[in-house]
Symmetry: D2
Subunit: 232 residues, 4 copies
């Protein structure tokens, strides 16, 4: 049982009919339900709440934060990014989803542009498990097939992952490192590609299994430092 906070920008689902049809309760709602069903303690937070829903209290009680954003990365306040950053370095796990690759918090942690290629074509994606010995791959088949997705292609400008768990094949001819593990400070970070706002990706059973595994994997390690700093 992991204490998860799911952060969602929550704009598409309120402003765009297609997104609302796929995620009537928001992307966060669908992910929350999936993780509650798998036994986690889940809360949600969204961009337009005060402090984006990420108060000191909320973060203090969060083991792993999931992050979905897309159209409004710039509206996330730098103060909140600082706060989340500090908590990740202090051991809180972070699972960054899909277009969250351009979130301020992810770019802050990676130190690179996090750019990639993309094409919204509704083609098939197949995520191959390239590291079947990794806990995030537990319970999965050799690959996960998603019938309709937005394509993300290489080069993906991130630091070489500590460990690469998934690589995606796209019908249109591209590949992408779609499941990347990092550690920064005491915190574990997992970038997971799937999840466009107009495809019901987060309803997919195997994708939910990955999210379940990822929050387990990213949860804080006992005894790890809550902060780093000088000590003369």
């Amino acid at each position: 049982m992991v204490a998860v906070t799911i952060w969602n920008e929550f704009r598409h689902e309120r402003e765009d009919e297609d997104a609302a049809a796929v995620y009537p309760d928001g992307i966060h709602g669908t992910i929350a339900e999936a993780l509650v069903d798998r036994g986690h303690e889940v809360r949600t937070a969204t961009l337009d709440e005060p402090e984006h829903g990420l108060t000191e209290d909320v973060l203090a009680e969060t083991d792993v934060l999931c992050w979905w954003g897309h159209t409004a990365h710039d509206e996330v306040s730098d103060d909140i990014v600082d706060r989340v950053h500090e908590r990740v370095l202090g051991g809180m796990g972070l699972v960054v989803l899909h277009s969250g690759h351009y979130a301020k918090i992810f770019k802050r942690l990676m130190g690179t542009t996090c750019s990639l290629q993309w094409r919204e074509d509704g083609g098939t994606e197949r995520l191959w498990v390239v590291d079947p010995g990794h806990p995030i791959a537990d319970g999965l088949d050799e690959s996960i097939e998603l019938p309709e997705t937005e394509m993300y292609g290489e080069p993906f400008d991130v630091p070489e992952p500590d460990r690469l768990v998934f690589t995606s094949w796209f019908e249109g001819g591209e590949v992408f490192r779609s499941g990347c593990c990092y550690r920064r400070g005491s915190g574990r970070i997992f970038y997971f590609r799937p999840g466009h706002e107009t495809y019901p990706i987060y309803e997919h059973d195997a994708i939910q299994q990955v999210l379940d595994n990822a929050v387990e994997w990213a949860s804080p390690v006992e005894g790890a430092p809550r902060s780093f700093g000088e000590r003369e």
Copy 2:
């Protein structure tokens, strides 16, 4: 609770007075007691038993194998090395101790000479935790001090570790990467430097804590493949 098998060459303690005085029940006996006290299920195996005590049945019931050897690496049969190798790639953890850096199984897994510099001088060693966010560092202070040890110095000819947990400082002026994590196949491997046969290193509480943490860390991941191979 991890099912641990502690393998010991068990020659020094039967042939050398100094070693017998420090480890009357063998190095394996001391480590076994420490791990039993910490709640693990422990068995031991030694070089001079049939199949070196590492039968198919024993390995099948072993989550993590600890390995201590020194003077008789060449007497370990290649068939048993093959068997252990296959089990490690299939997910069994391996904790290699001290002079085990030259064990056939470690060299097989690393692919390098695993050579290092050394001097038996009984000086002080201080193991610094360089990765306090790692589970193997759980419950430790910032360093572990061992009043009398054999020195191991760099360069240590191993592949760059996936993660470096400890670095040793030696009174005589050397340093050593003394806690190195690797994965090969589904198996987790931890090399841990401390442990000479004539110093009571394995009686040290913090060293026992590291061994406890290491067998937890190295235990098999649920769902990881038990073997690798072709599938046309």
Copy 3:
């Protein structure tokens, strides 16, 4: 200018009509010509020569060894594998090609099974450059397309690469980490997937460019140790 030795098993091209038609001078002949054209000093060696053509003298004068083998890995003598292994750890570069993933020398250096999935279907492969900042990618477009290849699929049981340069997309729906960099001892190792015996892969200009880049990258580093060992 790098002193390259191209080792080829050289059985298919003498025993199989299709292979002979594609590589009338042997796979080594085609690669040699390509590297000579690009300014390297090249010699070749094959399985059925005395000492497999890899005498002490030949290896002493070799900066980078390229290795292609497939049907006769077991016929490579362990003594020669020991010799090559020692030279790689001492700084000689090694470029392992295609089915060479099962070569004794590659398995010795990796410590894993090096297994993978495969299907001989003549489909299209597209190699994407996932690390455009790497010297092995110099002068390439964003991807290399090979119209007819044998498929290799994940999981590829190798240690996590130090750096991943290429990932392949296959028409049939698979992906593969097809350009993997490692260091062992002082030696640089590059595994490069393309190269079946019945497709003219090594005639492809971009593939030749990769081989050129790879032998430059893998050539010995000035000042690196020629051997590792104890020094009390």
Copy 4:
């Protein structure tokens, strides 16, 4: 021959007698002379120049930027940090020296606090080459001894280095990962610990050799992307 720009905060040497005595022409002056002697094309830049001396033109003509800062990290303008950051991702090498671990540009690239322990005690430091096969170790002995230094101790809160070249031993009982290699985007980054303002560290021949090797290693790779970004 590498086009090097040496950036120095240049405050201690103008405000503090001890520093002025050791580095009458500034730390940048001493390093510049050493690199010119070794055949590089060198310019310098300092904090109090317009744009800190790091104009677009200067950076465009710089292959590798060396960075020394200590008391005035906060005075470096964010705009210049953005500019340097973009150039590093686009391939310019960066060599970060000593107290530069807290420079904005280093923290930006690492994504962590970059904190460490320290003590100004004038004790001896010995830098051990832990990766003798690395080009930055070319021409060095097995260790470099510095008779008087400020101590830096672990834990050093940086991402696990891509490759660790040096580890320091300190007379007072500490260790430190003192030579760390990273890549971000197309850029190579080397953090090198030695270099306090009141000890003549940069006059030391072996330290100058490391700087020479480091600027060679960090210089841009031919063909690497000058920028990253989307391409629909």
